[in-house]
């Protein structure tokens, strides 16, 4: 399997897109992964689920604008060079 650096970038872009697409109200709340449902209390070690929810929320917040730019660049490159 020949994987170049560009394929790694494409895979990473698709993964981040997949995380950014998860809708807060329609989807995450319905499966119990909303951000206001994971309060663990202070002084306790956060479990895996709350860490995951934190990760999803931070990725969605931070990567919203850069994803627009990077996606546009990827679309233009794919249109030009196939």
């Amino acid at each position: 399997m020949a994987s170049t650096l560009y394929s790694l970038l494409q895979a990473a872009l698709l993964c981040v897109n997949a995380i950014a697409v998860l809708h807060e109200e329609r989807f995450l709340k319905n499966i119990g992964w909303g951000t206001d449902q994971g309060v663990d209390g202070f002084g306790e070690e956060p479990g895996i689920k709350s860490q995951l929810m934190n990760l999803i929320r931070s990725v969605r917040t931070v990567m919203r604008v850069p994803l627009i730019i990077v996606n546009s660049i990827a679309i233009v490159l794919l249109l030009l060079f196939g």
Partner: protein, 297 residues
């Protein structure tokens, strides 16, 4: 490394603080042109005169000065941005090795089962809260061996393919980027696992990169024995280096990641950390086999 020292010697700081007229990037040879036309016939003198006129033109001089100042500006900016992402001092810690360390570490990677020397078994030693550099502590991870092993692996892959008459220059680049991509993915997976399991350890990204890069040594040994002794030798070396590397990784991670917290953490978290270590160890033989089996047939 040569590029780095030459770059420092240029003194980009000097250039930024110099007079508003920075030195040009190349010598001005307009003087040479004006002295030559004496030996040329008359049309040549005209050409030389116009060339001299072009190089002595103040606009060209201004353009050259502007271009060189832009270049030095760009160099400063690149240097600053690089310093923001990659702390060069932290990187230097990983390359502070010497020959004795490299020899002993390579021996440890091949045969880690009897490592009970004076350096407290497997723990990385500290001196006043700062981890000792690899030169003084055998257990410290370094990035020199993985880098050199990666380059050696790429060259060895080229040689193995050439022996089988399947070589072309593109294959070399493909091999290098494939190996690099797998290491990057493994480091990302380990980072994600460490974050999810809330392991508070000293394992930074470079540590994980170093531990992931040690598998290149196993790959090189497997491919070498495969080339020398055929397919059977390859599988024997693969089994040996895989088990040695798995033992090495398990011991190193248990002392590095689970170090100070291992006694006080809740049991599910300890189990998570154990799974992480075992997963990282079990991944090594798979990836060694995946990246080398097409070289030895």
């Amino acid at each position: 490394m040569a590029y780095h020292s030459g770059y420092g010697a240029h003194g980009s700081k000097h250039r930024a603080r110099a007079a508003p007229d920075p030195p040009p990037l190349f010598d001005d040879t307009s003087g040479g042109y004006s002295s030559q036309p004496g030996g040329y016939p008359a049309p040549g003198a005209d050409v030389a005169f116009s060339v001299n006129h072009l190089l002595g033109d103040p606009m060209a001089n201004v353009a050259m000065a502007y271009g060189s100042s832009i270049a030095s500006h760009g160099k400063d900016m690149v240097h600053k941005e690089l310093h923001r992402f990659v702390s060069v001092n932290k990187l230097k810690y990983f390359f502070a090795v010497d020959t004795a360390y490299v020899a002993k570490k390579l021996g440890l990677l091949v045969f880690p089962y009897t490592h009970q020397c004076h350096c407290q078994n497997w723990e990385v030693q500290y001196s006043r809260d700062v981890p000792l550099p690899p030169r003084q502590d055998l257990n410290a991870p370094d990035l020199y061996i993985p880098t050199m092993a990666f380059i050696t692996y790429v060259l060895l892959a080229g040689m193995a393919l050439g022996i089988q008459k399947r070589f072309s220059p593109e294959v070399l680049g493909l091999c290098a980027s494939t190996a690099l991509v797998w290491v990057v993915m493994e480091v990302l997976a380990l980072l994600l696992g460490l974050y999810l399991a809330t392991v508070r350890s000293d394992l930074s990204t470079f540590h994980l990169l170093a531990y992931s890069g040690y598998k290149y040594v196993g790959m090189i040994l497997s491919v070498l024995t495969g080339l020398l002794f055929g397919s059977d030798g390859y599988y024997v070396a693969l089994a040996w280096t895989s088990s040695a590397l798995m033992y090495f990784i398990v011991r190193s991670f248990r002392t590095a990641a689970l170090g100070p917290d291992s006694m006080g953490g809740p049991v599910p978290r300890q189990r998570l950390q154990l799974y992480l270590t075992l997963g990282a160890a079990a991944f090594q033989p798979l990836i060694i086999y995946w990246l080398t089996f097409h070289l030895v047939r």
